[in-house]
Symmetry: C2
Subunit: 417 residues, 2 copies
């Protein structure tokens, strides 16, 4: 462990509420409560909504929160100010940017009659299934119909993506970090290959933003979306974010639009005219209580260098792998062994993984499970210590050695796994 980092992350840990004795390895699914979020939500309720009522939109700047919060996120994902907006859910944002990217390609084809229409959205089987659902819903509506002349969602294995990029592809839609294993795609390399053959890229940063340095700008990514409630600690179901490469901001036309993305929302014109900026990715009224929590949670990152986060994240995950492989040889590492090839989580396979995870949780070691057999553990340097990582491995050893998981109570499935 790099001792320089101890002091940095001892200080950031103080910014969170964490139950005594709990080892929380699920910040990749839901970040814990930043103390500042609790205070700020109270403030917004008690001093803004309560007393300012409708005036809060102007007097407390509620109307500008999507941009203000977006700018805080932009710094964490290597994006320029003004290119990121906090709004809606990752799914809704993915729908917007995917539809906008397809429209840009259709427009390009219409302007260049010699070029063949691009009808393929290329993705991989390691993508978060939700992203595939969003694409399926959109393409179904746009016409992936019975005549076979419509759009197609083409899925390949993750390692086959690079070779599958060709001139039939309109959009390459990928999640940078595999939600199951933490495996990283090379965003810059795949984006470069995509651009060489005229393909636009849409990146989901759900398990990347706040987990490691992300270089949206230098990678050349065209669009990106990401999550506010995982490594950004915005609270359950926090607003998500959307990035539009500045050169596309005035051209992108999502299928889903609304008054908050209008050039002059309060003129109440009958015709939609998109704002000339990333604001056009806004649709409805921003959710202020949820946005307030995320807004305050992002201040945890003030003065934190993501290179330090990455260094400590690798230290923690390497430590965990070493401990678990020594203590629990029956588990199979599902994550890449090379720390540069994975983000900030480690997963192990075990046939009874679900029950093992329930037994762990009952012993105050919190990870999660992904079907069919994947136990996931997230590493979040802002509030996770090396001592806790060692403790988690020891509890895991006990659960396995004593078959503590072999109990009906741990095999009963929860609604959310």
């Amino acid at each position: 462990m790099n001792p320089r980092l101890d002091a940095i992350f001892k200080a950031t840990r103080e910014l969170f509420e964490l139950p005594e004795g709990l080892v929380y390895l699920d910040g990749n699914s839901l970040g814990p409560l930043p103390k500042a979020s609790r205070e700020h939500v109270r403030h917004v309720i008690d001093e803004q909504w309560s007393s300012q009522l409708i005036k809060g939109w102007n007097d407390s700047g509620w109307i500008d929160l999507p941009q203000k919060v977006g700018d805080k996120i932009a710094k964490l994902v290597g994006a320029p100010a003004g290119s990121v907006i906090a709004t809606d859910s990752t799914s809704v944002n993915l729908f917007k940017v995917l539809s906008a990217a397809l429209e840009m390609q259709a427009h390009h084809t219409a302007q260049n009659p010699e070029s063949a229409a691009r009808r393929v959205v290329l993705s991989d089987t390691g993508n978060f299934p939700n992203d595939l659902y969003v694409a399926q819903g959109l393409l179904r509506a746009l016409g992936d119909g019975p005549h076979g002349d419509g759009y197609e969602l083409r899925m390949v294995e993750p390692e086959e993506v690079a070779d599958a990029i060709d001139e039939t592809v309109a959009v390459l839609m990928l999640t940078q970090t595999d939600y199951r294993t933490g495996r990283l795609h090379d965003m810059a390399d795949l984006t470069r290959r995509a651009h060489e053959v005229g393909v636009l890229t849409v990146w989901d940063l759900a398990h990347s933003a706040g987990a490691l340095p992300v270089h949206l700008d230098v990678s050349g990514a065209d669009f990106a979306i990401g999550c506010g409630y995982k490594y950004l600690n915005g609270g359950p179901g926090a607003p998500a974010f959307v990035y539009v490469r500045p050169e596309h901001a005035a051209k992108a036309r999502p299928a889903l639009v609304g008054w908050m993305g209008h050039e002059t929302p309060f003129a109440f014109d009958l015709d939609y005219r998109p704002a000339p900026t990333t604001d056009r990715m806004l649709v409805g009224t921003p959710p202020i209580l949820a946005m307030a929590s995320l807004d305050a949670a992002l201040d945890v990152w003030d003065g934190v260098d993501l290179a330090d986060v990455r260094e400590r994240s690798i230290e923690l995950s390497e430590l965990f792998i070493a401990e678990v492989e020594t203590l629990c040889p029956e588990l199979e590492l599902a994550s890449p062994r090379d720390p540069q090839a994975r983000a900030s989580q480690v997963s192990f396979r075990f046939p009874e993984g679900y029950a093992v995870m329930q037994a762990l949780i009952a012993r105050d070691v919190i990870g999660d499970f992904r079907a069919p057999d994947m136990m996931r553990f997230g590493f979040t340097p802002l509030y996770l210590t090396p001592e806790e990582v060692v403790r988690a491995a020891r509890v895991l050893e006990t659960v396995l050695r004593d078959k503590l998981w072999d109990s009906p109570e741990y095999k009963r499935k929860s609604k959310v796994t």
Copy 2:
């Protein structure tokens, strides 16, 4: 005033935080803070997110909140349990149901080759412009393209809607209550006319839900959406709701879908299979802090009869009109004079309406303004008294008589009007 109602609404007023001395006539834009919402949001932060972390999804039932909150709303809009879901914004929900309705019509045409394709979304110029923007964005993506063979948004004057319903129309998309004047469309009559010629209906209840009895079920409406932060007092940007007529629930296929609407969200299948219920209108992870506020706010309605709300709302608005017309003859009533023809707001026209409204607000009488010349006043019996209504009219008289509005500070436009 009906004295029986005094006691009922004296009790409900106690459930809200209202600044001393303020006359709040803008609950149709943002409802005030219910005391229970403050307490419940604190509880969710301090006792759920803080200590349960990821376990809150199961242990505190977060995952079921869209349905639980939806069922509370269903009671207020005349809908059966299970037919309403709280989620996303009104705009996003409108996009879902409009796309689903168009898909149902396209499917019907494909099944009945003898019938002509229906390509028209019929709406009116009194619709909230945002709803028109949502339709424009969707139709643009579906192909209202240059060949003229695509979809069309047809707008007529509000009073011409009934006669414009014909067999070219796929969907009749209307807002029940005109956001400017409070004029009500006859939902049951227009829906009946629509169904007679095979048209599906989509109703926006933004200024209706919680303002007056709404009869979704008996009106035959096919789809509806509505707002959580106006008369339902859920907080700024609260989640909205979506209604699907039960007979359509297993058929409706929105263009925008996601994992929360999947038949088995946590199986992580690669293919989308919609839930067989209204759940298919869910997309991303529900925003729990915002949902908690709305959840608690809806308990204000426990034991409240919407017929009583309607009776008192008419008493208050009639009182306001009588006072203002006596005291301020320079104002022109923009709302229907017949109280049965308007919802729970009253609007007056005045060329300098914006400045007058700013002068009123500076004197603790809060209404709002809609371009070009409309001053809006909302009447919310849950927390508004007859005395306050009289006081508002008196302050308005003073502002006009002494030309207090004629000041540069009141003419400077705010970002949100």
